[in-house]
């Protein structure tokens, strides 16, 4: 609780470029936030980033978890391999992707060239930057999500499927009406945790976007950092105000999601 109190306190403060506290300004930092020209774009980016990374991660993880739940030769190896992007440092993973995406040296453009296509500046072209970041976001979120869902799958007793088979439910019907409902607790956990992780994710957006001037591709987390240290604002108090807003926003999003999820449970 203490850090949260400090964050709120800082958000009421006026700070010099050096970090020196120069008195309190009440709610003025919050009012100034609303006046920031870049804010609407940043909020939009954040919504797109969180929604797409979480949604794509969940869909892919459902498939992966299903696959890893079947027995096949080498399953143990695949399960271990899936941990790698999770275990690697996010900065290192992000830097690796910077070089995969690089216009001149990147693997992706070598593949395009081999296919006779023109190269793309993945991290510089305004149309591709967000997509490139989302792909990395999904890549690093898959392991955790898959394992949560895999754990969920393993709690579903085999007898349930047998009973369903006797009643004639197989394949997609069995998945839709047995697996998914019984996986609901695991899905709920995976979604909530991913919402928070992805919203708060700093290194991917920071590293992949660090060549781009301005704030056109920032999320609220990287924007907060730029306000504090990397823009003409250079204002710790203003950044703290955005930090408070961020915490409240993710809290509201999670509560809204939980309410919606419970609401859907009732008619079932």
């Amino acid at each position: 609780m203490y850090p949260a109190i400090e964050l709120v306190r800082a958000s009421f403060g006026r700070y010099s470029v050096t970090g020196l506290h120069q008195g309190t300004v009440g709610l003025r930092n919050y009012a100034r936030l609303l006046g920031l020209e870049a804010l609407p774009a940043v909020v939009g980016n954040t919504a797109v980033w969180v929604a797409l990374v979480v949604a794509i991660t969940l869909v892919l993880s459902l498939g992966l978890a299903q696959l890893l739940n079947e027995s096949f030769p080498g399953r143990r190896l695949v399960r271990w391999a899936l941990i790698v992007p999770w275990a690697a440092s996010l900065i290192m993973t992000s830097k690796l992707f910077v070089w995969i995406y690089d216009y001149y040296f990147g693997l992706l453009n070598h593949l395009l060239a081999a296919a006779g296509r023109a190269p793309i500046d993945w991290l510089g072209d305004d149309r591709t930057v967000m997509g490139a970041m989302i792909a990395v976001g999904v890549f690093v979120s898959l392991p955790f999500t898959t394992y949560v869902l895999l754990a969920g799958l393993q709690t579903i007793a085999g007898e349930v499927y047998e009973a369903a088979r006797v009643d004639g439910a197989t394949g997609w019907r069995s998945y839709r009406w047995i697996t998914l409902p019984l996986l609901r607790p695991a899905l709920l956990v995976a979604t909530v945790l991913n919402l928070i992780y992805v919203f708060n994710s700093f290194p991917i957006v920071w590293t992949l976007n660090d060549r781009n001037p301005g704030f056109a591709h920032d999320t609220m987390i990287t924007f907060m950092y730029k306000i504090a240290f990397k823009s003409a604002l250079r204002d710790v108090g203003l950044a703290a105000a955005l930090g408070v807003v961020n915490v409240l926003l993710i809290l509201a999003a999670v509560l809204a999601y939980l309410r919606a999820a419970r609401w859907r449970e009732e008619p079932a």
């Binding site: 609780m1 203490y2 850090p3 949260a4 400090e6 964050l7 306190r9 800082a10 700070y15 010099s16 470029v17 050096t18 970090g19 020196l20 506290h21 999770w86 440092s89 996010l90 900065i91 910077v98 216009y103 001149y104 040296f105 500046d121 991290l123 510089g124 072209d125 690093v140 945790l193 928070i196 992780y197 919203f199 708060n200 994710s201 700093f202 290194p203 920071w206 660090d210 060549r211 781009n212 001037p213 301005g214 987390i221 907060m224 950092y225 730029k226 504090a228 240290f229 990397k230 823009s231 003409a232 604002l233 250079r234 710790v236 950044a239 930090g243 915490v247 993710i250 809290l251 999670v254």
Partner: protein, 425 residues
């Protein structure tokens, strides 16, 4: 609320994400923790020395050895922190917020700290011999309101690098001296085809203010005129329009120069032999020599005003006022500024001397000759004005936008100027 917040932080440590973790510390940090370790009156048991990492190989070993020597002489321990350039601003800011500033700090800015009254002046912590040894221009560059607060620690100068093979193949007999020659040379090199680039122009956020300064000065513009900011002067609009034309009309730069950084962008391309010309400095030369892949030459900047101007960069040591630390800090600075110490380090890092004795000792170094020769025509960015600390960041975050297709140089410069005037108030 606490619970929600601890989740992302746990996640950070899982991914061993330092910057985000640090950010959490900065923004959530315990701003009221007890004041730092220096004692109540008397001599402190230790001093905190914060140094920026210029290179993995040389920075820490040198300062570690210096700290040991210092402890041996004085009995005062040194808490040495070597911090990378990416996070030093933020870490120092956190220290100041927490009322735990370093005793000695190495940074590329100083005047904001002087304005905030946090620093000792040179009179208070440097011996007269040390003060008199500084080269005049660098002492000027560390002066705020008539007093020396930013003690020169080292300097560097930019120079114009060219790929000999590419220029020869393109039929460019000598490196360009004027802007017109430069455009011709860049066009010819670019025309070689096969992915060859005429000029690598890094106007991305990493160091845009450096690249911009050099072009600006070589067209007769400046950051300020007569003490007032002049960022959107006609000359400067003309210069930025010229740079945008390099990218969008002549098409002699790499793709998206406004979104290219120096280290992993322009320098990387030059080291790979893909680029005809680039503005570099001595560490780039050291890397080129080590790799041995590119035959390169180093010369003066092409200019539009007759005398080529280059950018000199001066970094600083600062001494923070803390109760009872003055004598300990003075002894530490005296040790660093002994000619053999400062020269050893500057030499190892490949930078330029800031003292008269250092210049004498290093004058025989052939590798440094082009930079030493450029020094008399080197200009410094206005670090003596505290507003610069914001202007620099503004330029880094905006000037690249002006050279993107559809960018508007005048509008970008007008906005930076307006913001500078507001900060200066």
């Amino acid at each position: 609320m606490t619970k929600t917040y601890t989740l992302p932080r746990n996640f950070c440590s899982m991914g061993s994400m330092t910057r985000r973790g640090l950010l959490a510390l900065v923004l959530l940090g315990a701003t009221t923790l007890a004041a730092s370790g220096c004692g109540d009156g008397g001599r402190p048991g230790s001093i905190k020395v914060v140094i920026a990492e210029y290179s993995r190989d040389h920075t820490r070993p040198f300062w570690q050895a210096l700290a040991e020597e210092y402890t041996k002489q004085t009995g005062v321990r040194v808490d040495l922190q070597v911090i990378d350039w990416n996070s030093i601003d933020q870490q120092v800011s956190t220290m100041v917020q927490n009322n735990q500033p370093p005793d000695v700090l190495n940074l590329n800015s100083f005047s904001s700290y002087a304005r905030d009254g946090l620093l000792y002046s040179g009179d208070e912590v440097l011996s007269p011999k040390t003060r008199e040894d500084f080269l005049e221009a660098f002492a000027q560059g560390g002066t705020y309101q008539g007093k020396l607060y930013g003690f020169p620690i080292l300097a560097s100068a930019r120079a114009f690098f060219y790929n000999r093979d590419l220029l020869t193949r393109a039929g460019v007999a000598a490196p360009p001296r004027t802007w017109d020659d430069f455009v011709q040379a860049a066009r010819r090199v670019q025309a070689l085809g096969g992915g060859v680039i005429g000029y690598a122009l890094p106007l991305g956020p990493e160091e845009a203010q450096a690249e911009w300064s050099i072009w600006m000065w070589n067209n007769g513009g400046d950051w300020k005129t007569g003490g007032a900011w002049a960022i959107n002067s006609e000359k400067n609009v003309q210069t930025l329009t010229f740079l945008a034309a390099l990218a969008n009309t002549h098409k002699v730069t790499q793709v998206n120069p406004g979104k290219t950084n120096r280290t992993d962008g322009a320098f990387q391309l030059f080291k790979d032999g893909k680029v005809g010309m680039v503005m570099g400095f001595s560490p780039l030369a050291a890397q080129l020599d080590a790799e041995g892949k590119v035959a390169y030459g180093v010369t003066q900047m092409p200019t539009n005003v007759g005398t080529p101007v280059t950018l000199g960069v001066e970094d600083y040591l600062m001494a923070f006022k803390k109760k009872g630390n003055q004598e300990a800090v003075r002894q530490f600075l005296d040790l660093y500024y002994r000619p053999e110490q400062i020269t050893r380090w500057i030499g190892a890092e490949g930078f330029l001397p800031v003292t008269k004795s250092g210049r004498e000792r290093m004058s025989g170094n052939e590798k440094l000759r082009p930079y030493l020769e450029a020094l008399p025509n080197a200009r410094l960015v206005p670090t003596t004005d505290p507003t610069w600390d914001k202007v620099k960041l503004d330029v880094q975050q905006s000037i690249g936008l002006a050279v993107q297709p559809g960018g508007d140089p005048r509008q970008v410069l007008d906005r930076i100027q307006k913001s500078a005037e507001e900060s200066a108030r």
